[in-house]
Symmetry: C3
Subunit: 639 residues, 3 copies
């Protein structure tokens, strides 16, 4: 399969007279894809029912004539003012009860039926008109679900929908639901929180102290389901009019909805990769790493999302927005290291991306993102990122294709667990993503390639190691499937520690049939209280006291078990530091017969079926097996 | 008197079929008390006027039959949903104007008359039914007044009540109050803030900049009075039906209402002691101490509250909730050091506690506190705290009783002063509790036992030292009583610096008849600006410039007086660091003929009439007078 | 011209019987001015239409008879309660949508027409009565516009007025405005933010993510214009009844409205100088400097504002409120170093102040500012500041007058640029004031005197260096005027980088006709990422990549140009640290033939036409040209 490049373009932002030249330059650069349309509702439908298709017909023609393929976005992330005037209660409401109004983007509540109908209407119009257009080769629904913290809404519409959702989850006679079942499931007796009727249930904000975690987790699941339904409504319409694949562009470290569930309805997963903005804003790196990687981005964060969205896309995935220069939205916005845009692009391909599109073609001189770099400067001169894209295009033309392969290591990622940890962190700053990412990083430091799997996976053939850390709800059939496999299974901390209604199960967790381990107590630790592990490394943040007859594989210096094992099942009762997770990974790899590497800091590899890719994320050259790999360098070795 | 143990139990949380076994295990463990009922309103009265007494009758029977005594809580901290539906404006409102709604606990405004009447009604029903029950040996009103910042409410009900309270405080003709008197008392002329009518007075939130401190302090006093009235309404009813003593369970470092005033209406003061949660959340220890004491708690914080609540209870006090393992609510929640639960229990007894009850019997697998340890795990297996309670029970059976004695040192604690400092801190992070606690710690480091006294105390016989630091309003008769005693009196900084309406008195403070000292100027200091005191130690945070003919006992290195004295009255014009407060304490003890000790870090003593108790709060053994005191160890020496 | 002293006095705060003595003591101290009345509305007009002039007539008489001149304030900063009851929607609303109510001061929205009319009415009454009073020698409008963040209001009144303001800015047929012009100017196409009507435009708060910067900047300009109009309404009335000069008292580092525009309507600019409060609260000094200058204040911050308000006052300016001791409002409130109140006073005179008035005469024992020092203590005893004022008064009597002179260096200060940076900082904590002040400090460290100029200045004769850093909008005629002058011109970073509607101009900035420099890319940097400049110093915070044929005067160590120059125009593409800005200043001075000094830390100079003033801001003595200048010392040398 041929990997391709693309860009994001907004014809409505630019004078008609430069469209041809833009299209020609894109084609000359070697781009295949151009995404358009996702913010253009006010120009497509300037007032309710009056459509202005001319410019968009024209733009698609111009691009298509130049040999480009169009990814057409539905414009529902930016409802025009007149739509909002028609539905004055369509806005989301934040946890403090404030309306999140018009004036930027994503100003809608997923639960508002009136707005949902407007979306159905505009998507129908767009799909009808362009569903068979030969240049429209793919679709994108909406834009970046969850950006700007927009999944959770505390609006009246959300409250009403939540009550209905709960009625369905705790069904009773007719449509009424069984409120006693809900009371029992949530343990509402605890503080006299019993309800007599579903209509008494409020959204879990503005309570005196923390609301019932079962209540909050239900709201999190409901909120995710609303996104799935919203997206599906669009997909169902597009499918009626088009055979082109449909995608959505997800984001980095946004876990507020179940991406796997949304992905089920789509052909392709794409994501928006901003390595420098992420490093400043959400990776959670140490200050020293933030400085070291300031112009390169974290060496694992993008890879993690590549692997995650490969799973979300069931194998088909893109980078829809690739940072090509400084951005405008992080706390600080440095410029990328020369060569690193090329590295980012190749890294995506090495992880299986079908396409990488740069955001955006030309830097806009107006509005919110005027300091967000494009491939072109506002004066249409090529920016530094342009030349790195050009180099990749040339390399793609010559190079052999990237041949995907199953990885030896699998890591289960569970959005439900992410919400559970958020609902009940038990310690400042503790979150599921952080735990999983720390373990992912340890596998990467050992030179391993990783497949991320959804929590619904029950088939583990071909994996040598499967890890499911921190997955608080583990259905019995998942436990069974893991035990039935012949892979090394790593669970804990916190795995299988809650039932489906957020209660602690008895017998106590992990209650893993073949593993004689019980978490008898747990504690969370200030950063200055690491617990040293005998032999090296330490446990921090989270520490479980383990009981039972299983073998203690690692112990603290005071002889408390940290990791216990029976057969191929290993339970880790703590959140390790890097040194300890490195030891744990090595131990598992030894058992599984997986070879590991000792990589220099900042160097990472990715194996395909035929090649090993080496990436140097450092701002300096390194020696790899006797050869120099330049700063920001990429090397492909046959395996 | 025989010291006793107990626990907190929620029969409504557990299947009926295990109650007998629970009760039997409690009795076998050596517990005397079991507190129940305080969150059970929705199960006692599932809908308005329909009562379900059966289960509670049954539970009390089961417990009583097992030989346990019941402390019965009124369930008013958790009004059920139907009560809230009946009184939709009964919720408190926060300073930002947001309603603090249903979904957790303490969701009521103390000023709401409708809710108050509901409370009177349910308390009447409960008291009628169980007032003469032979197993109900004590009562608790509500639960943890002030928890979750619930004393101050900015609701309409509070505003209305505040206006009435002000009318009574500034009385005029009839019921109207004298608004001119209020204007004059508050200095409302300052920024044209004069009122024409009490109905123009708003609550002091959401002003453009700080409101008048007199206005805020009046609101603080009003808010405290509302708690007293709310509590008294319940006490008045219970007394009609029961002769058992009535208590309330207070908290740590919560000073938002006058505990002495509430305590006046109760037979017993109890408090809820969570040493590890407190260390993380509110002690204000240095990072090094936070680490050193992470599994033991601060060595003085519990003792301070023991001494405080002994005064609030007029001698009769309990620990109603004793942390038995990790909790769920602090920023980090480590596990207690082995042995420390026993130490905490004995420390309470050494300070005169009649009973110590562990919270809670069994860890709940559901709802908000599912990660709060109990004596039992959710699977009913004994948790580590269980065995320490068992050891204490055995020791109690054998050991001589603890014989209370008056301490040589008295410290006046004044809630009104705490509000005054909060209203006018004059420097970041400066608060009354912190000042008083720093001085208390210095007395403790010197091996002294301390009695805390209410601000209404006028009798000081038997005390060798009385300290009243930071007490901003000191009535003349208190000054007179202190001068008339033959004790060493320590005041300052900030003592007697405001009149009853929050104005600076002229002559300037402290205006102490026998002490020629005037505070001519004051300043607050950044943490990096300590002022060195000649001879050792320094003043930080708060520094007053003192004038007058009194003797300068301590001076800064630049020769400004820090401590001045005439006769037995000593004025300290600064907030000392530990080294300086140690010197000041030694100086006072020398004058008063009180012997001091040089205790190792983390070791504390408490003297009773017949014994000296030694407590080792360190995570390591120490040598005390040639003998080893183990980590978490307790020693009793005859005096 | 004779420099004078004064104070701020509130006769309404004090018993009638001490007024004469107060007045006599003021006169004896050597004061000339006494400002009164600015918070006295509730005493002048206790109810709507009923005036109580007696006390104010009396007070003015008493003061005047004692030989003092009165500055009479309009009382509009503190509308009485009854005015607010009459206009319940007159309050400002904060960005979170909360009403900023009665109970302190400045509780009004500048856009509220009802309140504006009340102001017109009370100002008319006051001006009529005292316009020809022989003792009223000057006026002050309102008090401290912008204090407590009161310029921006998100009220309905503001929204309505903003729409009108926009209609006028984007005019169309009749009064309707051209909404398409606005859409185009703001780039509303960006996220389908197009409007159909001006009445659809909301204020730019509570949007989902950042609103359009053009929208925010328009709101900032509108909000400033509202202040100008509000002030002008008062001035227009006073002028009808009085010939005395009119002033307003501005503040430190408040840039929320265009002070030059307000100043256009006034004869005198005054400002309120609180060096210690400012150092704690807003200077932005390093922790080490905060400690070093804790009792003296920043050595440049007051000077900057002296120079700024000299420009705002078109040469005529005062310090209306001079800190005389500890204040009450900063995070920490230390006492001034002995002698420093005198230094502050002389520094103001050296920079051209006509008068310095101490705030306040006597410390108030009541209400919000009871811990704000006065010249007198609450018990009427002289406080330390009194004696320093006395010394200055004596020195003034003997010393030669201060003779103003044009400075060699000019610095353009542009409030519009301050808003632009706030709207689009592109990096945490980056603001225009900070940049300009860093450069100002560098000039001061080199011993230079500086004139600050308004952005409307087009005449630069006599200046050797003119700097306009960070001025994001630079009109063509300003560019032309600067190029036409023979002065060394310093611009950048960010100079001329936006057009009037907040769009990036093409050709790219700075687009300076005679300077071949283009900013091709920009980046912002975390504090731990300084970029070393070859030869010394570094760039931090902000770094622009410069292209073009101009000479590279300074380069980074990796050879990227930092400063480029053609002829007399120099562009600096970075925010320098002190070492680098010192080098840049020296370089410019060398070219301009301006002599620089090597001043010890904390020593500053100010040159008048005939003298060089030396000020020692250190808490220790220094050697200056072989002579000792004492701590807090002032020296006058003839030039």
């Amino acid at each position: 399969m041929k990997r391709t490049l693309g860009t994001c373009y907004y014809p409505e932002h630019w004078p008609r007279e430069i469209w041809e030249e833009d299209a020609a330059r894109m084609a000359a650069l070697g781009l295949t894809w151009v995404r358009i349309g996702e913010f253009a509702w006010s120009r497509i439908e300037p007032e309710g029912g009056r459509f202005d298709w001319g410019w968009l017909d024209d733009a698609i023609d111009v691009l298509g004539e130049a040999g480009l393929k169009v990814v057409l976005g539905t414009p529902t992330a930016t409802p025009p003012r007149w739509v909002c005037d028609k539905h004055p209660d369509m806005f989301a409401v934040d946890a403090d009860g404030r309306r999140r109004g018009f004036g930027s983007r994503r100003h809608y509540c997923f639960s508002h039926q009136g707005y949902l109908n407007e979306c159905r209407r505009i998507v129908t119009e767009v799909a009808k008109r362009y569903g068979r257009n030969p240049h429209v080769a793919a679709w994108q629904t909406d834009n970046e679900y969850g950006c700007h913290d927009t999944i959770l809404s505390y609006s009246s519409a959300a409250r009403q929908a939540f009550r209905g959702w709960l009625r369905a989850r705790y069904p009773g006679h007719g449509n009424d639901g069984d409120i006693k079942a809900l009371n029992a499931a949530w343990g509402n007796v605890f503080w006299s929180m019993d309800y007599d009727d579903f209509d008494q249930i409020e959204l879990p904000n503005l309570t005196v102290t923390e609301p019932n975690p079962a209540h909050v987790q239900a709201f999190r699941r409901f909120s995710s389901d609303q996104v799935v339904a919203f997206n599906r409504a669009q997909v169902d319409i597009i499918r009626q009019y088009s055979d082109a694949p449909i995608s959505h562009n997800y984001m980095g470290r946004i876990v507020d909805f179940d991406h796997f569930a949304v992905g089920e309805d789509l052909e392709i997963a794409t994501w928006d990769s901003y390595p420098l903005g992420f490093l400043e804003d959400r990776v959670g790196a140490t200050p020293l790493d933030q400085r070291h990687y300031a112009r390169q981005g974290d060496p694992d964060f993008q890879a993690f999302h590549h692997d995650l969205y490969r799973a979300v896309g069931k194998g088909r995935w893109w980078v829809m927005e690739q940072q090509p220069g400084p951005v405008n939205w992080a706390p600080y916005n440095p410029a990328p290291l020369p060569g690193i845009v090329r590295l980012w692009t190749w890294e995506a391909f090495a992880h299986g991306a079908e396409a990488v599109c740069y955001f955006r073609w030309r830097q806009a001189p107006f509005a919110q993102e005027q300091l967000h770099a494009g491939l072109l400067r506002p004066d249409s001169v090529a920016a530094p990122g342009f030349f790195e894209a050009e180099q990749v295009a040339e390399e793609l033309a010559d190079a052999p294709d990237v041949a995907p392969a199953q990885a030896p290591v699998a890591l289960i990622f569970d959005y439900d667990a992410a919400w559970s940890w958020e609902v009940q962190p038990q310690g400042q700053g503790l979150d599921y993503f952080g735990l999983v990412f720390d373990l992912y990083r340890a596998f990467r430091r050992a030179g391993l390639s990783i497949d991320i799997l959804p929590p619904t996976q029950r088939q583990f053939d071909g994996y040598r190691i499967v890890a499911a850390p921190g997955m608080m709800v583990m259905p019995d059939d998942l436990k069974t499937a893991l035990m039935a496999s012949d892979t090394e299974v790593l669970i804990g901390p916190r795995s299988a520690c809650r039932d489906a209604d957020f209660n602690i199960p008895v017998p106590l967790p992990p209650a893993w049939p073949d593993l004689d381990v019980t978490v008898s107590r747990l504690e969370t630790l200030r950063p200055d209280m690491p617990i040293a592990v005998a032999g090296g490394g330490s446990v921090r943040n989270w520490f479980e006291h383990l009981e039972g007859g299983a073998e203690a594989v690692f112990e603290t210096e005071s002889k408390m078990p940290v990791v216990m094992r029976s057969g191929t099942t290993t339970y880790c009762g703590g959140w390790g530091d890097d040194a300890f997770f490195d030891r744990l990974v090595k131990d598992l790899c030894n058992r599984a017969g997986v070879e590991t590497l000792d990589l220099p800091r900042g160097v990472r590899v990715r194996d395909t079926a035929t090649e090993r890719f080496w990436f140097n994320h450092n701002p300096h050259d390194v020696e790899i097996e006797g050869e120099t790999l330049a700063s920001a360098g990429v090397r492909r070795d046959p395996i």
